[in-house]
């Protein structure tokens, strides 16, 4: 068992708010410099840059968790990750079905482009990816778990787009695999204030929109190997696998 550095919340240039420098190649290069072993690719309501990033990262020995940052109907941001290409594709279909037909306006929100390995633009996504899905948080959680995925409400303590700002408190029966808390929040204090009785593993991650953000916050995971199933075990403290944050 050894420790791996994981930053599970990174946007690419596909997210309208993601800097155009956030190409999969640049993200991998920066992750390498910052000695990250595991990165999560989590664009708003889209998984379309995950596979290219994973392909580039494999060459550098970096594991990519493929997923998205979902905006639920209540406008709660949640991270979702999937193990296989099949389940990732099914989730992409779910996102496309549930995303309302609100079009992106590039001058307001920014570009939503998918690029290939040579950095040619292969697609411009027309629907605005920031819009809340038709599906509420419980429905999204259920969908993620039906597909064997990992479900992590994002930056839960932030005053906007978080479970606390939108829903007032963490629903007592929420089946989250972990909670992401902001960089400067103390997990023990948060757990006590919210009366969570250590029900959840806490993660810290960068929520990077710019190259310089990558790795500014990360979590340490104790695993046999940096695989999806090992990470899942670490999130629920199974068989000696666990997560530690600063």
């Amino acid at each position: 068992m050894r420790t791996f550095r994981a930053d599970l919340h990174i946007h690419t240039l596909l997210s309208p708010c993601g800097d155009l420098e956030m190409s999969p190649a640049n993200i991998v290069a920066k992750a390498k410099v910052n000695q990250l072993d595991i990165i999560g690719i989590t664009d708003h309501n889209s998984t379309k840059h995950c596979r290219l990033t994973r392909k580039l990262a494999e060459k550098e020995g970096i594991t990519v968790l493929c997923g998205a940052e979902v905006t639920t109907k209540e406008e709660v941001h949640c991270l979702a990750f999937f193990e296989t290409d099949d389940t990732l594709a099914l989730f992409q279909q779910f996102l496309e079905r549930q995303l309302p037909p609100v079009m992106n306006e590039v001058h307001r929100f920014g570009y939503q482009v998918v690029i290939d390995e040579e950095e040619n633009i292969v697609e411009e996504v027309e629907k605005l990816l920031l819009t809340g899905l038709h599906a509420g948080i419980n429905k999204v959680e259920q969908m993620v778990h039906e597909l064997g995925g990992i479900f992590i409400p994002a930056h839960v303590d932030r005053p906007y787009y978080s479970i606390l700002s939108q829903l007032g408190f963490i629903p007592p029966d929420l089946k989250a695999d972990a909670l992401e808390i902001s960089r400067l929040t103390n997990p023990e204090d948060f757990d006590r204030q919210q009366g969570l009785n250590q029900r959840f593993t806490f993660l810290k991650s960068s929520d990077a929109h710019y190259i310089s953000d990558i790795g500014r916050a990360y979590s340490q995971m104790w695993l046999e190997a940096p695989t999806f199933s090992e990470i899942k075990m670490a999130l629920v403290n199974e068989k000696g696998r666990y997560v530690k944050i600063q």
Partner: protein
């Protein structure tokens, strides 16, 4: 301000009772309009009618915590199944309207302050 019970405003505002019928004799002290549940938790007052588009079951937990008179769902929204169940248990009615928040809040304000 006139004292109204929940069942006295239903006809005037053309509201539909979606759940929690046993709570229709609750007394209304005013109204509150917001879709951020954390704000409602902090700022709403006992006896108010809460106008919102949120349908998650945390709505009923907050309504019960603040002892609100009823919840009005706007734009034709319906409560989630577990939200409706909580409304029955807590005897806090959920009422529905096709009208948007601005319109229903204006009419409620006129009725109870008029």
């Amino acid at each position: 301000m006139k004292a109204f019970k929940v069942n006295e405003i239903i006809e005037a505002l053309n509201l539909e009772v979606l759940s929690g019928e046993k709570g229709l004799d609750r007394i209304i002290t005013g109204g509150y309009v917001c879709d951020l549940l954390s704000d409602v938790m902090g700022n709403s007052k006992e006896g108010q009618i809460w106008i919102t588009l949120q349908t998650h079951k945390n709505v009923m937990a907050i309504a019960s915590l603040r002892d609100l008179a009823a919840v009005v769902l706007i734009n034709g929204f319906k409560p989630d199944a577990d939200t409706a169940a909580q409304s029955e248990i807590g005897n806090i009615p959920i009422l529905g309207t096709k009208a948007p928040a601005f319109e229903i809040a204006g009419r409620l304000h006129e009725l109870i302050n008029g």
